[in-house]
């Protein structure tokens, strides 16, 4: 069954309410870049922190680092603008 009147209502609402304020796009981009930056930090320092823990607890640091690096390579990068 075709609900053309409901689809027309959607078009009407979009036309009536106009565009989202420009500031919103700016805020969204800022937020996404922040998430991406935090992702970079975690990517850079997490392996080092883990390998320090492994070293302190008496494990083989190089093996742990290698494992983390291999995992990192296979993962997709978080969203970034």
């Amino acid at each position: 069954m075709e609900f053309k009147n409901f689809k027309d209502l959607a078009d009407y609402e979009i036309a009536k309410n106009g565009e989202l304020p420009r500031q919103v796009k700016h805020n969204v981009e800022k937020n996404i870049n922040l998430f991406s930056f935090m992702g970079d930090i975690v990517d850079t320092y997490l392996p080092k922190i883990i390998s320090i823990f492994v070293g302190v607890s008496g494990g083989d640091m190089s093996k742990a680092e290698e494992k983390i690096n291999n995992k990192k390579k296979s993962e997709k990068y978080p969203n970034q603008l």
Binding site: F3, F6, D8, L9, V28, S36, K76
Partner: protein, 191 residues
């Protein structure tokens, strides 16, 4: 490889998403933003009926969409996924602000055999000008329900997971919303 603006416009949502996830280029984000931001905004206003809240909600929804883009499995249309997140977010706001929690209580005890498409013929026959008056007379939840079902063609199962109530409760609520709309119609347009 650089794509021409015309070619970019022709890309499907799914193609844009793949390109965005692969390259993280702003141009692909812009396409998705241009295609959906105003639709999300309009939907937020029509549910929340408050422009300031709708702007804030739209911003949060778009951030949520972009950061979860890799989770879009392609099982449904991208627009359906976008609107599910939009409804979900708005319903959550309503849930937090509404004191009347009864609106969201589980009504699983209701009759399971409510026909989903009862009164649908009546709905298709309401003139657009009249529909926009009538739909505003319904409360937020009822309005959201009807929009999910008849504007965005969502399945009862999808609506049920957004509203977090059983499928039979959704059918019951839809029936009530349609009955109410019918009543308003008779009271407002006596022809």
């Amino acid at each position: 490889m650089l794509e021409t603006p015309n070619r970019l416009k022709q890309l499907s949502d799914e193609e844009v998403i793949v390109r965005y996830l692969d390259s993280q280029k702003r141009v692909y984000f812009n396409i998705l933003y241009d295609r959906y931001s105003n639709k999300i905004f309009a939907k937020c206003i029509s549910i929340l009926k408050d422009e300031t809240k709708a702007v804030d909600a739209s911003q949060e929804i778009i951030i949520k969409l972009v950061t979860n883009l890799s989770k879009f499995g392609g099982n449904s249309k991208f627009s359906t996924w976008v609107y599910s997140i939009t409804y979900n977010y708005c319903i959550d706001i309503l849930r937090k602000t509404k004191k009347e929690q009864l609106l969201f209580k589980d009504e699983s005890a209701f009759n399971e055999n409510i026909p989903e498409d009862e009164d649908d013929v009546f709905l298709t026959e309401i003139m657009f000008d009249r529909l926009k008056i009538l739909i505003d007379k319904l409360d937020e939840t009822e309005r959201a329900l009807l929009l999910m079902k008849y504007q965005d063609d969502m399945m009862i199962k999808e609506i049920s997971s957004i509203m977090q109530i059983t499928e039979s409760a959704i059918k019951m609520r839809l029936k009530r919303a349609k009955d109410k709309l019918k009543k308003f119609y008779t009271a407002t347009f006596d022809d």
